[in-house]
């Protein structure tokens, strides 16, 4: 008998799952951890006032927050694509000096507390800020405007697109680009006709991730943009506010963000599965 075939046979008295190397007791903390993630989501669903959820979601303040969130998250996503795609290309394809340091700084917003990001933006674009005073002379005020919301969201969401796309670029490799070059394609032609079409799934999933992060942004927005209905009060800010005034409305709006998160996770996972083929 082949030595390998003995290993594939289920051993009597042990776990029936052949090939599983996970000790049985490990399932206990794993299940506890899983419940810890799932239970709060279920709790929200349980608390949703299903009878008048429609009315809660269409109230004036809800609609204002919803519309503002959609608008600003989309604008941030566009900014993330416009700046993030070139950043990912430079990080993945060029051999400029100091690229490693640069990458670390680009990824900083990922680990920086958003409220600190908000402070940093305030001291950049605020009235007294580094660029703000110059902009002020030009008659441009950014802090506490809808523009500030977009900037805050872009600041925290950008690394998601850059990271995701850089990974896709590295996985795709440069062989197709080399072939395109030997066929006479200039670097710009290679970019538009080969590189970008090949990594389009990475761009899309990066954009979806950025959109999700922008949609949920709270700390940097509150610090840098404030909470003015219809101007800077996005969904998360509205939820936080309503939590004290009208908990039912807060739960109904939360349901909306949970649903959006589920859709996004499904879309990104689907993309990732396709990309791995």
């Amino acid at each position: 008998m082949m030595p390998g075939s003995a290993l594939r046979k289920p051993l009597p008295g042990r776990t029936r799952r052949a090939g599983s190397t996970v000790p049985v007791w490990m399932f206990v903390p794993a299940v506890v951890g899983g419940l810890f993630v799932l239970l709060p989501l279920v709790s929200v669903l349980v608390r949703v006032p299903w009878s008048h959820v429609g009315a809660l979601l269409t109230s004036e303040s809800s609609r204002a927050a919803l519309w503002l969130s959609l608008k600003t998250a989309l604008a941030s996503t566009v900014l993330c694509v416009v700046f993030g795609v070139p950043m990912a290309l430079v990080l993945a394809r060029s051999n400029v000096r100091g690229l490693r340091v640069l990458r670390s700084f680009v990824l900083l917003p990922l680990v920086l507390p958003p409220v600190v990001g908000g402070i940093a933006l305030l001291y950049t674009f605020g009235r007294q800020g580094l660029l703000g005073s110059t902009l002020d002379v030009l008659g441009l005020q950014i802090a506490f405007t809808t523009t500030a919301v977009v900037l805050a969201q872009t600041f925290v969401a950008l690394p998601f697109l850059v990271l995701s796309l850089e990974g896709t670029l590295r996985a795709t490799g440069q062989r197709y680009e080399a072939v395109a070059a030997t066929l006479g394609a200039r670097p710009t032609t290679v970019l538009w006709r080969v590189t970008l079409p090949l990594v389009l799934p990475g761009v899309l999933s990066g954009a979806v991730l950025s959109f999700a992060r922008a949609l949920g942004e709270f700390g940097a927005t509150l610090t840098f943009a404030g909470s003015l209905q219809g101007v800077t009060r996005t969904l998360p800010l509205e939820i936080y506010l309503q939590r004290e005034i009208d908990p039912d409305a807060a739960v109904a709006l939360s349901l909306l963000l949970v649903a959006a998160a589920v859709v996004i996770v499904v879309v990104v996972r689907g993309r990732a599965a396709q990309g791995s083929l």
Partner: protein, 351 residues
């Protein structure tokens, strides 16, 4: 005639130092063990690698030297790799039209060129398919069309047959033989296979550890190998002549019976067979359907439990120690090499 190439390039980091010339229209096979620098050579010429010092010149234009650097897209050079690397998001026709379009032809002109080349490689019926819908052999055929559609002065081939299954390789070899023989470009063919060199190349260059150790006409190099690598891969018997209906007529008028493998009667051909397919006799056996070749025994070379009997004509036979003893062979003896017709392949040789 185009494709005159002068290469003189050093890359100390990879211990690479090669000087090589190609005549216009010439096809040169580059052989050598793994890591000998074959792909480095192609990369330098294609512009994917930059030499530390040296000079590469194609048809009178300097591609690279101390002051000049021509980027890959501006070189009249096309590369065909082991993998077809067809752009997966484009159809077959768009793949072939990619080069002409990149070299600033308009869309319809590029499509026309693409269709022309798809015809030339018998892949017109695949034009609207995606690469993922093609077999490995079909993909590589399309890749040939794509490389030639840019009308390169020099075609670089990096083991184009190596990734194909046994069934698809001969067809591609025939295709390459057809397109390489029109003399519109020169070609450098990196290969591991003596057959590729025999069928496609005018000349062979053997690379070892980043240096050229041997070069010359294909048959000359293989019949008198001067490097260990060449000797090993050339462990094959070879008779030169012209193809006939069922075999080959050698230069001195001898008839060899064999399996024609792409050689048309009348055209220059080689008959190849392995030393292990050869039996050795003192006198020609009568009434046997075999090829009998009278030889004079040269050297006897022990190889494990076999002995390779080298004839003075360059042919070789692998027989057992016992047979050598039974036949009482020694250098200078007359003997007869016989080989079954089914063991002999008759291949068209390069121009």
């Amino acid at each position: 005639m185009r494709g005159s190439l002068q290469v003189e390039a050093q890359l100390p980091e990879r211990d690479f130092d090669v000087s090589l010339q190609l005549e216009p229209g010439e096809v040169v096979a580059v052989l050598g063990p793994n890591g000998a620098g074959k792909s480095t050579l192609l990369g330098l010429i294609a512009g994917l690698l930059r030499p530390d010092s040296g000079r590469i010149c194609l048809d009178g234009t300097v591609l690279v030297d101390g002051r000049t650097w021509t980027p890959p897209h501006a070189r009249p050079v096309a590369l065909l790799a082991q993998q077809a690397l067809l752009f997966p998001h484009l159809t077959v026709r768009e793949n072939v039209a990619f080069g002409p379009r990149s070299r600033s032809r308009d869309r319809s002109a590029a499509r026309a060129v693409a269709d022309e080349w798809l015809d030339a490689v018998d892949a017109r019926d695949l034009a609207s398919r995606r690469p993922a819908q093609l077999s490995g052999g079909q993909q590589q055929r399309v890749a040939v069309a794509r490389a030639l559609a840019v009308d390169p002065h020099l075609l670089l081939l990096d083991e184009p047959m190596a990734a194909l299954d046994v069934g698809a390789a001969p067809a591609l070899r025939q295709l390459l033989r057809r397109v390489l023989s029109d003399g519109r470009r020169s070609a450098l063919l990196v290969t591991h296979d003596v057959l590729d060199a025999l069928m496609l190349a005018d000349r062979v260059v053997v690379l070892e550890s980043g240096r050229i150790v041997e070069q010359g006409p294909v048959r000359a190099v293989f019949s008198a190998p001067r490097s260990a690598f060449t000797a090993r891969i050339a462990g094959i018997n070879l008779l030169v002549g012209r193809a006939t209906e069922g075999g080959l007529t050698t230069r001195d008028g001898g008839e060899v019976v064999g399996r024609p493998d792409g050689a048309e009667p009348g055209e220059p051909a080689v008959a190849v067979f392995h030393p292990s397919a050869v039996a050795v006799y003192r006198d020609a056996p009568h009434g046997s359907p075999r090829n009998s070749l009278e030889v004079v025994v040269g050297e006897l070379e022990p190889r494990g439990d076999l002995v390779r009997v080298h004839a003075t004509s360059g042919l070789a036979a692998d027989i057992t120690l016992g047979s050598v003893a039974d036949l009482a062979l020694s250098p200078g003896d007359r003997a007869v090499f016989t080989v079954k017709a089914t063991e002999v392949r008759v291949l068209p040789s390069a121009r």
